[in-house]
Amino acid sequence: MPINTASLVIGLSYASLLFLVSVGLSVVFGLMRFVNLATGSLYLIGGYVAWSVARKSNSFLLALIAGAAAALVLGILIERGFLQRLHRQELLQVALTLGIAYIVQDVTRWIWGGDPLRLRPPAVFRGSMELFGSVVPTYRVALIGIGAVLAIAVWYLLERTKWGAYVRAGVDDLEMVQCLGINARRIFAVVFALGALLCGLGGALGTPVTGVAPGTDIQLQLMALIVVVLGGLGSVAGAIVASIVVALVDTMVRTFWPEASFFAVWALAAFVLIVRPQGLLGRTGW
């Protein structure tokens, strides 16, 4: 299969977005056993708010901040308002977050309408550039850079700091962590808020590429679920690897066999889980 630079850039930039959406979900899932089906809604809110702010203020940076902040607020609302009551009740979490997703989708359709909206990239990253002999969109390259920096930052935070060690310990054995006198509830809240923030940032960053419309939330939600489970719950490295694999497969199939694009990723997910029921980098026993 001929892999050229252009499709590689498109695939990797998509991987950046997938990572931003799924890393929070993955750690929240692993740590709190909390199934958040409103993750796609956080992305949607981030994208829509960024679009509006960018139109008003003409500043892309401000739009990014606003988008991330909006998702952060929604995330904290979900966590403080509902989530705390439903610890360890997965089925109820599914129904509740699905309800939130429905409401967010309808409210955003009300405010922003049903047409897909697209944001223009900032002036610096407009147009295209030459990379290894082929022409690629500059914004996509920038997206890869941003994604890589954030991935390293999150990885460092969770794998190399004391606070990250608490989080990982929570993923492995929550009761033991609480016995050691660590305030797991506060860690939950911070992790959830950080995840929501990254989701919203992903939405804002992704608007120039994927656009936002009712339905973007469902699409991203499904992709994030695949990434999280393929990588292994609670594993940052797994989320990074799975984002790249899923995004590249999706882009390649989209280029070479467009009719099969929507289910190739699912075939991949099914195959991986049949061979490795705990995901690529997940540990057994969950």
Binding site: L91, A95, Q105, V228, V229, A267
Partner: protein, 349 residues
């Protein structure tokens, strides 16, 4: 014990009244509500079959539409290529659903929790993809239209076709629901609940937990395929939409809202979701939001499902009574005491 016996009689009376109403429905309802009721019956069976996995065995399947669609396509293909009579086609649909479950079961049962959810979802999407791409046989996204709706022969000419198909559905669904009731109350069904609560403990007691889960998965697949076959006849059409994960998600919502792990919960959930879809969407465009609000309220106020509503009301009334008995003097408090012990017996049961 006395209170329990009275409650059991009440429940029996409610079921009897409902059964009579269901039998008389064609005489009471115009055509359109009757067809909605037919759909509710079909989705009751679908949700109840999913409840075997989700509610009783604790296996969160988000791919149950695969069986529904398999049943539908079995009926559609048989009608299109062989003109098979409905009774035989429905049996073959059930067999097809069981076969799909037998093949996929060993793979999905290697996973747990969230992984189980995603693997069932993935396999369903793969089946969706196969149906979508295999245009020559399945008709791709056009599906298979023109499936002739079956009739009960001796009723033809005496009642309308809608009523006739309604009775057919009522009989098939009634038999299937009775079978599910028998299954979940059998030792096998109780063992499934045990697996949901503590699988290792049951394993320690010597139960073959893997085999039990496998059998539950196969049974659920068979019943879902039956519902799918009926739905294909009901619509006269089968398409990829009947495999779509959206349908699986809707089934999941029906089970959770109605009450997972309770027998009648899924039926109530199916009724609620379909009524919301048809009735609320008729008078407002914001029905998606209303659906979302209903979900959230349901989870917060009735976490064990709508089916627990009478119990919740009794709980709240008991709590109110206890609070008021604190204030007035002793005489009333002692009067309330025997009442409270009854409450406690009910709670314990």
């Amino acid at each position: 014990m006395n209170a329990l016996a009275i409650r059991r009689q009440w429940r029996l009376a409610i079921v009897a009244v409902l059964a009579v109403l269901l039998v008389l429905a064609p005489a009471l309802l115009p055509t359109y509500p009757l067809s909605v009721l037919t759909e509710i019956l079909i989705f009751t069976l679908f949700a109840m079959s999913l409840n075997i996995l989700l509610g009783y065995a604790g296996l969160p399947s988000l791919g149950h539409s695969a069986f529904f669609g398999t049943g539908g396509y079995a009926v559609g293909l048989l009608a299109k290529y062989y003109g098979t009579p409905a009774a035989l086609a429905l049996v073959i649909a059930v067999v097809a659903g069981i076969l799909v479950a037998i093949v996929t079961g060993p793979f999905v049962l290697r996973t747990h929790g969230a992984y189980f959810l995603i693997l069932t979802l993935s396999l369903t999407q793969v089946l969706f993809g196969i149906v979508w791409l295999w245009r020559k046989v399945t008709g791709g996204d056009d599906g298979l239209p023109g499936i002739p709706s079956p009739r009960i022969p001796f009723l033809v000419g005496r009642i309308s076709d809608t009523a006739n198909f309604y009775y057919l559905t009522l009989i098939v669904v009634g038999i299937a629901v009775a079978a599910i009731a028998w299954i979940v109350r059998s030792p096998f069904g109780l063992a499934l609940v045990g697996i949901r609560e503590n699988e290792r403990y049951l394993e320690g007691l010597g139960y073959p937990t893997w085999t039990l889960k496998y059998v539950a998965y196969i049974l659920a697949g068979g019943f879902a395929a039956l519902a799918g076959g009926l739905f294909a006849y009901f619509k006269g059409f089968v398409g990829p939409g009947q495999i779509s994960w959206l349908l699986a998600g809707e089934g999941m919502v029906m089970v959770i809202l109605g009450g997972a792990g309770t027998f009648w919960g899924p039926a109530i959930g199916a009724l609620l979701v379909l009524l919301l879809r048809y009735e609320v969407s008729a008078f407002t465009q914001r029905w998606v939001m209303i659906l979302g609000i209903v979900f959230i309220l349901n989870v917060l106020l009735l976490p064990q499902g709508i089916v627990r509503l009478p119990q919740r009301i009794r709980e709240i009334r008991a709590r109110l009574r206890r609070e008021t008995t604190l204030a007035p003097p002793l005489a009333e408090a002692t009067a309330a005491a025997p009442d409270r012990s009854v409450e406690r017996v009910i709670e314990r049961s």
